[in-house]
Symmetry: C2
Subunit: 196 residues, 2 copies
DNA sequence: CGAGTGATTGACTTAGATCAATGACCGTGG
DNA sequence: CCACGGTCATTGATCTAAGTCAATCACTCG
């Protein structure tokens, strides 16, 4: 859901912009959460890194997406956000948003919808992670994200592997197999789903 | 978060109560979502079943918990809710709740907080599912849920296996090993965490 | 043009899934 | 009151898919 659909432009306009170079960290897990970010341009990877250094990609945020919505009600950020390209973000302070929600029930409701969509999406992802085989996960992912029969990968294949809870090697192999068997076709940054 | 903390008793009181026997289904995935349920007594299992018949337990709801909050903004339910004991629930119609949110910003904000907590919880669970070894997942689960050093299992060990994305056999074995090595102690329906 | 990273494929190992069997426990109906 | 059906709890044996280690090629960016 695009920010423009829920956050009044009066508020968006007055927010502070910040620019990051590729590779820079926007915030880290555990940092004091002062508000949320809106991506104006570029791509941001949200991830969590466990004690073994393994990275789980929570998602790639593109222009119009917001980051750390849930942290509005939490004292700290729960994941790490890293710019993967050059990025421009707008920062929205907690208090500003909460005040707006109190003043404007329509905005509040839109934000609720946003959170509800995230809950639904996360549950779908959890279901996907529960599938045992790599191929099933790929199918689940493609089925969920296919608009038409073509899926545009938001990031690299490696990122996708992280998002699917697989090693990149396992994913490459699975994609090759699926392509060999005519289930999918691959083009640069995209996957075409061939329901046989 | 308990319903009483966010939903005014005036609304809660006027809701329709419904009683289910153990094993009965409250709603199924795909059913038209007319509103949400509050558990008054008993336990309800929320789960998703994939195409292979494998069940992912999304959680066990106890008295005070609500079910299908996210479906407030969705036309259908995304998971299946089954009574695992005799259960009493209260049904709250979508329109009633949304109207209350519009009227009372405090209630709206509490509900947002509830959704935000769910997002955070789901992300934690996703992170857990991303851990490769059964033992790591158990540790992660215990660390997250330990109040003091004792964890009360909300359901059966089998339910827990579903929640951790493991087969029950694998979980039994892992728990035995951990007990053998003195990392945990097990008592009926509980696990004691022994940080060595 | 080199350094860094993604993409890709090979060989080997292992943890957990699967299949299978048994004992414990619980409600329930004759 | 007890036998029976059902489910949970538990353990064993085997198998396989994915993880791990490793190497190579392609591409992009200063």
């Amino acid at each position: 859901m695009d920010v423009k659909e829920w956050l009044p432009s009066s508020i968006r306009g007055s927010a502070i912009e910040r620019t990051l170079a590729a590779g820079q960290i926007l915030f880290s897990r555990g940092d004091h959460a002062a508000g949320l970010y809106e991506v104006v341009s570029g791509k941001v990877r949200r991830s969590r890194t466990d004690s073994d250094g393994r990275e789980l990609v929570l998602g790639i945020a593109c222009a119009g997406d917001t980051i750390a919505e849930a942290s509005l009600f939490s004292p700290i950020y729960h994941s790490t956000a890293t710019a993967i390209t050059k990025v421009v973000v707008r920062f929205h302070r907690k208090a500003t948003l909460l005040a707006e929600f109190a003043r404007n029930p329509r905005v509040a409701q839109s934000f609720m919808r946003l959170l509800a969509c995230q809950v639904i999406d996360l549950r779908a992802r959890l279901e996907r992670h529960n599938l045992r085989s790599a191929r099933e996960r790929v199918r689940h992912y493609l089925a969920a994200d296919a608009n038409g029969d073509i899926v545009v990968l938001p990031g690299t294949v490696k990122d996708l592997a992280g998002e699917l809870g697989l090693t990149h090697e396992a994913l490459y192999r699975t994609l090759s197999e699926m392509e060999g068997e005519g289930e999918i076709a691959r083009l640069k940054g995209k996957i075409r789903f061939l329901p046989h």
